[in-house]
């Protein structure tokens, strides 16, 4: 039926074309960042049992902390917990400038967040899952890591710090 053709005003058509181009540009920018520049978001790493992850001697989070795996390269096992007093273990880390640190973070109770200020590290910490992300620390200074997900009454005081020495 000829009356069934869709009528689109010329200004409207131009606006829709403009909108489509704009969105393609955004999508391209995101794609370039993701695939060209290697911006990482957490990927499924490992499942753990939150009931035993902090106590089982074979779990790296029973002894959380920094391990130097090669000169200037570190693995940081960090445990987030609300019980007993809303903190990360360890509370403080120290690495020399130029270090590459891979974080492995999990929770032994509720959900938490983990955001290292002034870096691109910002992810969820979910019981049963391990969040992994690698960060280069080039500039000396103190970088707080703070909890960004509500985890009970101590949520606002939950933080730790990485000191990057010159």
């Amino acid at each position: 039926m000829s009356t069934q053709k869709m009528h689109i005003d010329v200004y409207e058509r131009n606006w829709l074309i403009f909108s489509a181009i704009l969105l393609v540009l955004f999508a391209t920018a995101v794609s370039v960042a993701a695939f060209g520049m290697g911006i990482q978001v957490p990927a499924p790493e490992q499942r753990v049992d939150p009931r035993t992850v902090a106590t089982d001697p074979s779990s790296p989070w029973s002894n959380p902390g920094l391990r130097e795996i090669a000169p200037g390269k570190y693995d940081a096992y960090i445990l987030a917990h609300a019980i007993p007093n809303w903190e990360y273990l360890p509370k403080e880390l120290t690495v020399p400038a130029g270090s590459v640190v891979t974080f492995y973070v999990t929770s032994s109770d509720v959900q938490h967040g983990f955001k290292i200020q002034n870096t691109n590290a910002n992810f969820m910490v979910i019981p049963g899952q391990v969040s992994k992300l690698t960060i280069h620390f080039d500039k000396p200074g103190t970088y707080n890591y703070i909890c960004t997900e509500y985890c009970g009454s101590g949520h606002g005081v939950m933080y730790g710090a990485i000191t990057v020495t010159p």
Binding site: T3, Q4, K5, M6, H7, I8, D9, Y11, E12, W15, L16, S19, A20, L22, L23, F26, A27, A29, V30, A33, A34, I39, Q40, V41, P42, A43, P44, R47, D49, R51, A82, I83, D109, V110, Q111, G113, K115, A121, N122, F123, M124, I126, P127, G128, Q129, V130, S131, N144, I146, T148, E149, Y150, C151, G152, S153, G154, H155, G156, V157, Y159
Partner: protein
Amino acid sequence: MKQYQVSTAEKKFIGSHLLVAILALAVGSLFGPLQAFEHAGWDFYPYLRPLIKSYYQGLTVHGVLNALVWTTFFIMGFLTFNVIFGLKRPLKNPVLNKVGFWMMVVGVVTAAVPILTNQATVLFTFYPPLKANWAFYVGLTLVVVGSWVEGWGLFTTYLAWRKENANERTPFIAFASLITTLLWQICTLGVATEILTMLLPWSLGLIEGVDPQLARTYFWFTGHPLVYFWLLPAYISWYAFLPKQAGNGKMFSDTLARLAFWIFLILSTPLGFHHQYVDPGVPPAWKFIHSMLTFGVFFPSMMTAFTVVASLEHGARKNGGKGALAWIGKLNWSDPSVAAQLLAGILFFFGGIGGLANASYNINLVLHNTAFIPGHFHLTVATGVTLSFMGISYWLLPYLTGKKLWQPKWATIQAWAWFVGMIIFSNSMHVLGLLGAPRRVPLNLAPYVPAEWNSRLIQVGIGGAILFFSGFIYLLVMLKTALNKETVETEVEVPVAESLQDVSLTPEWLDRWAPWIYGTLALIVVVYGPVLFDLIKNISLTSPGFRVW
């Protein structure tokens, strides 16, 4: 021509939705400013101790009542009105709608008890393994299922109308309202599954633990389309009511308005992973796909922006508006309903831009769970949606009750105060987020807050104070209108804009339901299926509950 008469009983029924909505807003909005004041260093929570135990309990009340109860009740009332008035036909099974409504009311009361007794301080996202009292989950279930039942009442009304009018195009306000209802029914399957298969049996002690990653995935299946459930009723008003109110304009493009609603139905649900970009248990490839679809759902909003502005301009030019932008001054700004909706639209535009930043897979790494996020959604749901609903109520309440709007001047002041207060509040929240301030934190007490945040934290408090004033005026205008002794001489005219095009020329395929519904379900299966299948296959119910508040 006399307008279609909605029966007194139906007007009362729609009005009771408004009553619950506004009561929820009244209580919930008491707590919004308290969060803002805390940021500025004026912490009132210690004085509320006997009643409200903590900042987080206040935040739970604010989130649940404002984001879930105020919106859902207002929307179900408004959509019911649109279906009846649009189809010019009474409800087919009013009992069904009533049952749905009362289920929702019972649900709100059931959930309110544990919230107010500090047994459910889990915020409106209620992420497990934070474990609320079972009544909280029962209450939420009743609200959702009640809204489904009301929706079925609307669908049966449509089917009856269709039988009586086999070849007619569905009138736009009814058409768009039915799509919004359908969108809600599809997307809430996520949260319903979360509660019924995990949270409720767990809170009752029937199962030992839950899988928090799977629970989050179910939650965000519903969580993002939820914002379209909030937004689309405001869009309906901007498309079909506002042009008429603002200057007797006509709806510029009926065809594209309908197409936009179908695109919303298809694209609103399969993009929930953009809330989970930094979740460890979701593969990055799927996060990327959802980010692309998120950009896609921006497209119908751009269509909406064009049609709405063109419809407003059409009216303004007829009334002598000139120039590229000067015609905006010819809009009927002195009508509080118009002022509120126009101002809501302006701030929503900026909220949309911020949303694109959140949707960007990479930029989100800087923004995730910072104060930027509440800054963003106070422009969208708390202004684009809420201020529009306030504007709608400025004509809807007089229409339903036959009472004159009390002091329209104060209603206009209310809209402007909301606009100004929200600019100050939201701008400072966005900046704080970029500086690294987390959301959901009483920042005045947090030990890691640097001095450079202080000036912004005070602006959050100032914005909150102006919003508190505006909210108070809104409630006063509503109360005084409901009790007004002055009545309107003739029934308030429902301001529905005609279509500029001949509606009978709107293509028939835009009025067919089945292909769009199949398309919607197929896309959901394609982009959610594999991840959900994997998460369910590897489900580990290893998280016991915690009550750490």
